[in-house]
Amino acid sequence: MTPATTTALLTAPIALPLATAGAFAASARARISAWAGLTSPAAILGCGIALAVAVTHDGPVTAYGRLLRADALTVWMVLVIGAVALLACAANPAYLAHEQAAGHATDRSAWQYHTLVHTFLAAMAAAVLAANLGLVWVAIEATTIVTAFLVGHRRTRTSVEAAWKYVVICSAGIALAFLGTVLIYYAARQAGVSEASALDWPALIAGADRFDPDVTRLGIALVILGFGAKAGLVPLHAWLPDAHSQAPAPVSALMSGVLLAVSFSVILRYKVIADLALGTGFTRALLTGTALLTLALAAALLLGQRDYKRMLAYSSMEHMSLIALGAAVGTPLAISAVLLHIAGHGLAKTVGFLSSGHLLHLRHTTRIGRVRGLLTHAPGLGAAFGLAVLALLALPPFSLFASELAIARAGFADGMGWAIAVALLLVLAAFAAMSLRTARMVLGPAPVAPGTPAVPVRIGAAASLPLVAGLLACAALGLSTGPLTGLLSTAAAIIGGH
């Protein structure tokens, strides 16, 4: 592959979404179709596929003097971002049409919405493609700024509240991650890494065994705390249920499906540095503690949950804690399971949030208690929502079944049996809570309101296509990772070194 092609492939996932955002911003008067928004996720996905081929053949590729870099982990994340964004962006036209019909959105807020969504995609792509950990930080903080307005898009009291909490908690958390980054930079400089490359990930790994352990320990703890805040891990998780429940459905899907995972992938990068400098014990203890606390909190709040969008948000915390637990185990098997889990959760949670958006439009409430007999009232939507929750409960054939099983197996094999056992008990509690709530929403007779004919509601082809595609992709990934197997094992080898 020529350097020019590599550069183009590494630039396009950031540049094309930015260009799309610019086009929407410029379209304030000359309106462009909402479907044009599909170009940027399609570009991300396309570049991801091409990069996957390049990286499996030739190893990591770089551009702009090592500013951008793609290895197997990057490519995996680019593919997940592309796939989830394609589903979410395909749902945008229907979402906005509905908001406009209901009088919640104007032409102006529609193009603002598109501009922000595509800038958000560009920032996420930059976060996984940048090789410089300082730039990674900048990109992650940029996602906070962009999504703040998306969370507060509807400008209701609750959405303003959610946006405020989101910006304050995430900015403060991510600031701590920057302090951690600075300390790692300090440790690297003192260990003799040159100034120009002391934030460059490959250079940091090459020199990590010489880092001062005390400084590195403090730095890594801050980094996990900070990026953990954006990944929805305790103690800075309080924004997550509010933001995910208040954001427009396609944005919730993006935030929960990929943004959490993108932040966590940064923790995976730092984990490699920490493991080389400190041995694996430190990050393992830190990640296990965080994961179990998050899981316990999510399970407890799922048990009493009365709002279905918040139920999906707490389920995100549940899955992020399983991902953190897998990372704590840290063997190559565990890491490939973690990456598979990231993809499966992204797809399933996207379908879950998108269908919850349609549900909100249909029933005008997010209260679980007020939704009954969905399968009779709106069969397609009920089936999609039900199947998405089944996928999130990790039932086969969906890929979360395979990945949870693999995380558990890897944990038992590597002497983490007690933590896995505790986690399984908590997952069981979450399982019971979610399946009971969902069964009550989906099954049973349809509500009989006076004056409404008992005809099943259809949501239309445009709205149901992303839901079907997401469920099929999640199931396909559960049956076989197919051509992605090589990529997955290479990525696991990069991160799961021991």
Binding site: N132, G134, L135, W137, V138, E141, A142, T144, I145, A148, F149, G152, R155, T156, R157, T158, V160, E161, A162, A163, W164, K165, V167, V168, S171, A172, A175, L176, F178, L179, T181, V182, L183, Y185, Y186, A187, R189, Q190, E195, A196, L199, D212, D214, V215, L218, P241, D242, S245, Q246, L301, G304, Q305, R310
Partner: protein, 219 residues
């Protein structure tokens, strides 16, 4: 500049930097808090300039100038404007009273010194010895963020936190590479603008900016 003059000036600037954070906890008029924050920006600018002069690095001086403009000029200006628009003058009774806040600040400073011992030991230069001050400001900023109730005071808490981190970055490693510093400053500026817009929306929705009103979303 002689070595001892450099050390003394650096310690003086670091002392002012910490003192400004403590004063923010002490005062309750929002306008005074903004003034003190601007003063802290000047102290930060001084620290960065001293380091630049001492190491004879022009790029560092340029970064220092940028930091001065942003943190002593632009950000306080934005906050003053927000303050004028809001018509609010005082912090309502904070969750923790002033005396307890000041004691907490003292405790946090001691904690910062304890935590940063390994950082100082790694490279005991005059700059690194002043580093715990930056960490203390980070902790005080966090404390302000969680105990104050006006939206503007929370923004100041967040910015104290950020100033502290920038100070640590300078004192520990003479600042991070330029491109990262630019990105960080840009992000901070945007975050403050976002918070300002949200404050306006909050006022439109709730009539005031008391964070206590934000409690409709909970489990």
């Amino acid at each position: 500049m002689s070595e001892s003059a450099y050390t003394q000036l650096l310690d003086l600037a670091a002392g002012l930097f910490l003192l400004a954070a403590v004063f923010v906890l002490w005062r309750r008029e929002l306008a005074a808090i903004v003034r003190i924050f601007a003063l802290q920006g000047v102290a930060l600018f001084t620290i960065a300039t001293l380091l630049g002069v001492h190491e004879e690095r022009w790029d560092l001086l340029a970064v220092a100038a940028g930091i001065g403009v942003l943190r002593a000029g632009v950000l306080p200006h934005l906050m003053r404007r927000a303050l004028a628009a809001s018509g609010e003058t005082h912090e309502t009774q904070p969750l923790v009273n002033v005396a307890a806040s000041l004691l907490t600040a003292a405790a946090l400073t001691l904690l910062a010194y304890a935590v940063s011992r390994p950082l100082v030991e790694l490279d005991p230069s005059p700059a690194a010895r002043a580093l715990p001050v930056g960490l203390a400001v980070v902790l005080i900023g966090f404390f302000t963020l969680v105990t104050r109730r006006r939206a503007l005071s929370q923004v100041v808490g967040f910015l104290l936190l950020d100033n502290g981190i920038t100070a640590v970055a300078f004192l520990a490693a003479s600042g991070v590479p330029l491109i990262v510093e630019l990105g960080v400053s840009f992000d901070v500026l945007l975050a403050v603008l976002v918070l300002q817009i949200l404050t306006t929306r909050m006022r439109a929705a709730f009539g005031r900016t008391d964070i206590d009103d934000l409690r409709e979303l909970r489990d």
